[in-house]
């Protein structure tokens, strides 16, 4: 998948969970990505983050720690 598209999709998820109550937003972003993203998409996200993760929402960065 084009990196911009992946960043856009991941950030959309982060934006939703940021609006939710509680202090576990990063965990919920991670859980959503685990539940709905196929492993190779998650692998692409992890590799992108390892590469600096430019443009990704901070919540996605934090979520990636538990992916």
């Amino acid at each position: 998948m084009a990196p911009e598209k992946m960043v856009h999709m991941a950030n959309q998820i982060a934006v939703f969970f940021r609006s939710q109550p509680g202090d576990d937003q990063a965990e919920r972003v991670a859980a959503h990505i685990k539940d709905f993203w196929e492993p190779r998409m998650r692998e692409q996200l992890r590799a992108y983050i390892a590469d600096g993760g430019e443009g990704l929402d901070d919540l996605v960065h934090r979520a990636a720690l538990s992916l």
């Binding site: 856009h8 998820i13 609006s19 939710q20 109550p21 196929e38 492993p39 998409m41």
Partner: protein, 971 residues
């Protein structure tokens, strides 16, 4: 032979009533019926049919024909039994000498103005006038032909055959009106009309269009469609067929019956068009389908139909249908017709070779929301048990996947909460992002009936859809929001309900999580989320929104019906949750007349989702990560199930472009035409090494396919569909598959060519496997369906006959969950380059990508997609009605002709996507719902300008499609 499942299919004369029992005696027989029942219906209940012409049980009694007169002890005269309600102790005589004489006289008068052409009449054998002439013993007509409507020659001929022989030159009968054959499917022959008004009443009461009227008085009375200058086709008639069905004579007659003769057998089955899931009697002579007639015991449609289900079945026998399997090594070659064995061996070999080279997860399937539950179940089983991965998705991805997520999160299950009958108990209806009169016409008719009876309507839609104002229906509020602002509007409604304290605290405390409610209430109460603050971005006047919210919260039973205008957005799932919030806030859940009701686009969207088509869920909406769920299927199938979610359709295409997804089995879906960003879909398909298309026609996707497996129509197989009310309804084999195999057999053969060893001999066995593995279907069997007609899931020990209304005492997830719905603007924004917003939708006569309806006479109503544009936006661009215009977005460009209309507001344009040449999805982008990847079809920033005709891309596409459809026939 009629498969009516033991139900009485007779015409009882007048509608059923509910009421206290009333006991009476008819011709010596004692009968007990509900209060309000007519004497006619009571007689029918004991098997005594009173002669009748103007009465039929789909319509309220009218009392005009005077044929149903009876005598009642203690009453004077001879009252009409259709309009006389029963009373306790009444003693009725239906066959006295006096009434016999009256009836005979009435019939003699009717027949004196009716041609005696019975033997050559299209209604011969299916004519109530003929039947009644027999029933009353009419043996002669004493009146000589005088002034009449039937004799074109005006020479006193008794029959039209005789009139043609006598036809004078120049002179004729001025009262005679020739047959109107303007409708593609039925004719109107005024010369055979007995002016019983059944057609006019059906158009009003059942369909709710009011296209027909009785013109003139007395002997001059004639049925008329539309205004003086109209014929049936140019009138408001929507060709639903209700008038034709109601007509007792050949006056309104299907052309198919006229051409083929009366049918000799009928089979009850389920329509394969929209998610209403109407029951029909398929009426046949041998294996020739003569007519589809709506089945009055169908619980979704209650005897009504629309132009698609009733008439648009010609695609099943269209010359374009492909009946032989075909293969080719590469997509630039012509197709080669081959045997089934060769095609399946070729396909299986390629798929296995791809897996060996690129890995187990390099291939996948797309199940069809048009195929049966059983077929869908097998296709996802093919991926999970034979391919060994979860790469299965379905066209519901691109329509209602946000419904699955949103309702799952809030209520605990992915389904509408009501049955369609529920609308009869509704007081206030919100229709949001749906256009039922076009997309779900039979439900729309039921809704309009309720609106005419006084229920209030709120329409939330960028377009002024027909429901906003049409015959005898007017929305109390139309909130014409800017596309993409659903969440802001729904949240603002919650703001009004919470801040004005219109919420149902008792319901919320009893049924929902109170802490989550408090948080939600605080969130929505922020003035920034109120209608005044959001008006500038939504375009909805704050006062209107406030009034609409108050009406929904306080107007009695409130029901929400929504469609793809809700789901197909970047925030589709959020809007679904917002809708669920509104229902919980107001306590509109868990009883008749309320609820949250997704209107499903295709016939089996609900079923395909139920059957585990999504890559993260096994059948019954259970995540693949759950070991206990996997264990059920691992035990049943004897293979391990992958615990990781698979690829969704857009992800498959991305992975294909990326080189890791190489093979696809696509059953009954045309992703190249229906999915967004056509160029991206085409690149994905082109990058695959084995695309198997299993379909009726060489669809657009097949341009990129290597294997074509011919499909069977819904008329040619057994199975079940599950409609938008969770109603599981039987699809029955009406005729043998023209391609040789039902679709479930084809999937089984493909699986077996890959070594699966499946041995199903009938879809009932597949349903047994579904029931054994999926709790919501635990009690479902073909025996139960044959007995009950249909059932709504869940069906199990707790609800052995199904569940018409969900969440009655508690939510499926326990406590209802309020979820904060923060509005986030889509990144698809207008600007200087693309200043207009395009939104897309459907039209009544066409269905989805049009593969079926374009191959029927329905094209008479809609032969091309048009771009609806507001006159103001057109004027500044120099565009006039009918001009070719080019539509450009950041994804691509296409062209079509413009239709100037103020149904869309300034700044918004609208089109349908029924025709491949238009390629509306060249324009749509790859933005999608945050939770589910459901594409954002409903918002695309575009520019519109004059053009000379089709774009280069359209011309190239058409040429490529033609090249790709070359076929070398088998020897």
């Amino acid at each position: 032979m009629t498969a009516t499942m033991g139900l009485d299919d007779r015409d009882m004369g007048t509608p059923a009533r509910e009421g206290a029992p009333v006991r009476l005696t008819i011709d010596g027989f004692s009968v007990t019926v509900p209060a309000g029942t007519s004497v006619m219906r009571a007689a029918a209940e004991v098997g005594l049919s009173v002669p009748k012409l103007c009465a039929t049980d789909s319509l309220e009694a009218f009392g005009s024909c005077r044929l149903c007169v009876v005598e009642i002890d203690g009453r004077r005269g001879t009252p009409a039994s259709c309009t006389t309600p029963v009373t306790d102790g009444m003693v009725v005589h239906t066959q006295s000498e006096r009434v016999r004489k009256i009836r005979k006289g009435v019939m003699e008068l009717y027949v004196s103005d009716h041609p005696l052409d019975c033997l050559t009449c299209a209604a011969n054998g299916d004519c109530e006038l003929q039947d009644m002439a027999g029933a009353v013993g009419l043996r002669d007509v004493r009146y000589t032909p005088g002034e009449n409507h039937y004799d074109p020659s005006g020479t006193g001929a008794r029959s039209q055959a005789e009139a043609r022989l006598r036809m004078p030159e120049g002179e004729a009968n001025p009262r005679y009106i020739a047959k109107d054959a303007s409708n593609p499917y039925f004719t109107y022959d005024p010369s055979k009309c007995i002016v019983c008004s059944r057609c006019v009443r059906a158009c009003e009461e059942v369909q709710g269009t009011f296209a027909l009227t009785i013109e003139g008085r007395g002997f001059d009375s004639r049925v008329k469609a539309g205004a003086a200058s109209d014929d049936f086709f140019s009138s408001d008639c929507v060709s639903c067929g209700a008038c034709v069905q109601a007509c007792p004579t050949a006056t309104l007659q299907e052309k198919s019956v006229a051409a083929l003769g009366t049918p000799t057998r009928s089979v009850v089955t389920t329509c394969a068009y929209c998610g209403v899931g109407c029951s029909f009697k398929a009426e046949l002579a041998g294996d020739t389908l003569v007519r589809m007639e709506p089945y009055k015991h169908g619980k979704a449609n209650r005897g009504h139909s629309c132009v698609k289900g009733r008439f648009a079945y010609g695609y099943a026998s269209h010359k374009d249908r492909i009946l032989s399997p075909m293969i080719r090594d590469s997509v630039d070659e012509p197709w080669r017709e081959v045997s089934w064995d060769e095609a399946l061996t070729f396909a299986a070999g390629r798929l296995r070779a791809i897996q060996e080279r690129y890995g187990q997860k390099s291939i996948g399937v797309i199940t069809s929301s048009r195929c049966t539950n059983e077929e869908t179940f097998l296709v996802q089983k093919l991926a999970r048990a034979v391919f060994g991965n979860n790469n299965t998705d379905t066209c519901a991805r691109v329509c209602h996947s946000p419904t699955g997520y949103g309702l799952g999160q809030t209520f605990g299950t992915s389904a509408g909460t009501q049955d369609f009958d529920s609308v009869e108990h509704t007081d206030t209806v919100i229709v949001i992002g749906a256009n039922p009169t076009d997309g779900h016409p039979v439900f729309a008719s039921r809704l309009k009936k309720r609106l005419r009876a006084g229920a209030k309507l709120i329409v939330i839609d960028p377009r002024r859809i027909d429901l906003v104002r049409s015959a005898h229906v007017e929305a109390a509020h139309h909130l014409p929001l800017r596309p993409g602002t659903n969440v802001a509007v729904v949240t603002a409604m919650a703001h009004v309900i919470v801040t004005e304290r219109l919420y149902d605290e008792a319901f919320i405390r009893a049924r929902c999580d109170w802490d989550e409610f408090l948080h939600f209430a605080e969130f929505v109460s922020d003035p920034a989320r109120g209608p005044e603050e959001t008006e500038a971005l939504t375009g909805v006047p704050a006062a209107d929104l406030r009034a609409a919210a108050r009406l929904y919260a306080t107007g009695g039973n409130g029901a929400i019906y929504y469609g793809l205008g809700v789901t197909e957005h970047s925030q589709g799932s959020t809007t679904v949750m917002g809708i669920a919030n509104l229902a919980m806030l107001t306590g509109n859940i868990g009883r008749p007349g309320v609820g949250v009701n997704p209107l499903r686009g295709q016939n089996n969207v609900q079923g395909s989702c139920d059957m585990g088509s999504f890559p993260h869920e096994l059948p019954g909406y259970r995540h693949v990560k759950n070991a206990d769920v996997r264990a059920i299927f691992e035990a049943a199938w004897g293979v391990p199930i992958d615990p990781e979610p698979g690829l969704r359709i857009p992800n498959m295409l991305d992975a294909a472009v990326g080189g890791t997804f190489k093979g696809l089995y696509c059953q009954g879906e045309d992703i190249l035409q229906s999915d967004p960003d056509t160029k991206h879909v085409a690149s994905g398909l082109a990058a695959m090494e084995c695309v198997i298309v299993h379909d009726l026609f060489l669809n657009e996707t097949a341009n990129y396919a290597h294997v074509f497996l011919p499909g069977s129509t819904f008329l040619e197989k057994d199975g079940t569909f599950t409609n938008a009310e969770r109603r599981i309804n039987r699809v029955r084999e009406v005729m043998k598959p023209r391609n040789g195999y039902a679709d479930w057999e084809v999937t089984q053969r493909l699986a077996n060519a890959m070594g699966a060893g499946w041995s199903y001999t009938h879809p009932a066995e597949i349903m047994a496997e579904i029931a054994a593995t999926t709790p919501s279907f635990a009690g479902v069997s073909y025996e139960l369906l044959d007995e009950k007609g249909s059932v709504q899931w869940p069906v199990g020990d707790a609800s052995p006959e199904g569940t018409p209304i969900m969440h009655v005492d508690s939510f499926v997830r326990g406590r209802g969950r309020f979820i904060v719905t923060d509005y986030v603007a889509t990144d698809e924004r207008t600007g200087a380059r693309f200043p207009l917003l395009l939104t897309t939708g459907r039209i009544l006569s066409q269905y989805n990508v049009g593969a079926q309806t374009r191959r029927t006479e329905n094209v008479a109503w809609h032969e091309e997609d048009r771009l609806e544009i507001h006159p103001h936006d057109a004027e500044v661009r120099g565009i006039e009605d009918g001009d070719w215009v080019k539509l450009t977005s950041r994804a691509g460009e296409t062209s079509m002709r413009a239709l100037l209309t103020d149904r869309v507001g300034p700044g918004v344009v609208y089109t349908t996507f029924h025709h491949p040449r238009t390629q509306a999805n060249v324009i749509t982008t790859d933005f999608s719902d945050w939770a589910t990847n459901c594409p954002e079809y409903k918002v695309t920033a575009v520019q519109v300008g004059l053009s000379n005709g089709p774009t280069d891309w359209q011309e190239d596409y058409t040429a490529q499609a033609e090249r790709s459809r070359r076929i070398i026939a088998a020897e």
